[in-house]
Subunit: 307 residues, 2 copies
């Protein structure tokens, strides 16, 4: 089996190629039935499949180089549909400075876009999930809750004012990976652990906590204004949307407390924002502090299927 430079279960896999360098690999599959809601075009689905993979590289601070594409295509698709998928894949990789080097197509009952992303990194420079220490600042690269609302809009007939509808729906149709932020943060060397939030904020916190053997006390839940507004109108709990929504591609990370300003500045310099939301604790468990009271953030997440 040889070495395993990045532990099984982290966001990406790695293979030692010598001289302290790693080949970084990630595979993720988008399936029509579970990942492509009504209202999402094939172009958007293909682009989203790319974003899903890029986001994991972003969390680890690794620049993606090339993409391999494996398509499972239902018979009913036309040549123009397949071209649209190709254009969406290319648009996705170009946004993040990578390109497609090969692939394979076959027939499948349901649309399957299986992608494999490849990049190179120095072994010492990959941000794992496991480095958080008590006292570290917990931070995120953006606000949460929009995607959960957006998905409800696409799937059900819920009430939503015109002025926020678009931003909520777009959060699902046109997600963005925080690659600039992830690379900038990685260069600072002050990030102790990181993950992307595609399975939801709560799940991401639990993953880092488990891998790092710490707990978290969250005192500032990063809820988007549009998610609050949507929740009020539909009598939902906006904290629930922000914690357990998923399909968001923000980074969730921990930073050495005394070097916090360096992390914040690095993200600002690339046009992003880094929001502190709490701190890592020696006691296990993930708690939310609100109005002097503490409640548990459960290890629930956005997952289609668990084995």
């Amino acid at each position: 089996m040889g070495e395993m430079p990045i532990p099984f279960g982290d966001d990406v896999s790695a293979f030692n190629i010598g001289n302290g360098r790693l080949a970084i690999l990630k595979t993720d599959m988008l399936v029509g039935k579970t990942d492509v809601p009504e209202g999402m075009s094939l172009w958007q689905a293909a682009r989203k499949a790319v974003v899903m993979n890029i986001s994991d590289f972003a969390a680890k601070g690794v620049k993606p180089d090339v993409l391999l594409v494996s398509l499972g295509l239902p018979r009913k698709l036309k040549v123009t549909d397949i071209e649209e998928i190709g254009r969406g894949l290319n648009a996705g990789v170009r946004e993040y400075g990578a390109y497609v080097i090969g692939g394979d197509t076959g027939e499948a009952s349901d649309l399957v876009i299986s992608l494999s992303l490849f990049g190179l990194a120095k072994k010492s420079e990959v941000t794992l999930r496991s480095g958080a220490r008590p006292g570290d600042v917990v931070a995120v690269t953006g606000l949460f809750g929009r995607t959960c609302a957006g998905l409800k809009i696409l799937l059900n007939s819920v009430k939503v004012p015109k002025e926020i509808r678009n931003v909520l729906v777009e959060s699902i149709l046109m997600p963005h990976a925080r690659l600039k932020e992830g690379l900038a943060l990685n260069r600072t060397g002050v990030v102790t652990a990181a993950i992307d939030s595609s399975d939801g904020l709560a799940w991401s916190l639990h993953e880092i906590a488990g891998a790092s053997n710490v707990g978290f006390l969250i005192n500032r839940l990063p809820i988007a204004d549009e998610a609050k507004r949507f929740s009020e109108i539909n009598k939902l709990d906006s904290a629930e949307l922000a914690l357990y929504g998923g399909e968001e591609y923000e980074l969730v990370l921990t930073v050495k407390p005394r070097l916090w300003s360096r992390a914040e500045e690095a993200v600002r310099e690339v046009g992003g924002t880094l929001l502190p939301i709490g701190k890592a604790t020696a006691e296990r468990g993930i708690l939310r502090e609100m109005d002097g009271k503490k409640c548990v953030i459960e290890p629930r997440g956005y997952e289609h299927f668990k084995t």
Copy 2:
């Protein structure tokens, strides 16, 4: 886009990692509906998915190092089914000296086993499809026609004597990649072009011919005895089975004529056989010579879906 060290459409893709070295990548997807006939277990299906990818590395003469797995799992599968898939994948990679470094599972309507194989190679040492020259010997690493018969047995109720039934069915259920042969041939440096025969012998010949801008004159069709016997009994043309069957994982390659014995010996040393079947010609077109007459080998192949 940068460099493209191996042209689009060859068996594998490559990315330049510096110092004349390439990261070699291949992705291939097995889909339940089209690739897993009745009678094939999940263990066998998973192992076959590995063999499909290894076979492409074998053709290029590249040692596979690690595998990434992306599974699309129908809801009806039980945990024991998924474990069986895992065991099949591991059995497959171990046969060829590689191992699994990561992966991802999701839900899908149909079983999808999407694999990505990774290895390293020197840029100057990868055997492409494009190097065949007029006069080169065309050769294969084994006999053809068994898989076509085996698939007919699994799919229909055809007549087949007991003594050959097993070898025909096994050719489908337990395919083998010619990795030893491919690596040994690559080390000789006398192979000018190579491809694996998963889309059928005829298709493979056409692919090499197109990429190398040559033709082929085939005078010794490598038909397995069991395929001849099966064809006689079922009133089929055994040449048809051997040329257009597919799902075979032999290597089809061309060798510099004066260095033929070196290639033959290298394969013999690793326990394989290399069979000459014809020669490359300056005139385009792929012809079969039989009893003094020439007929065209058509560019038909075993493909589930063409775009």
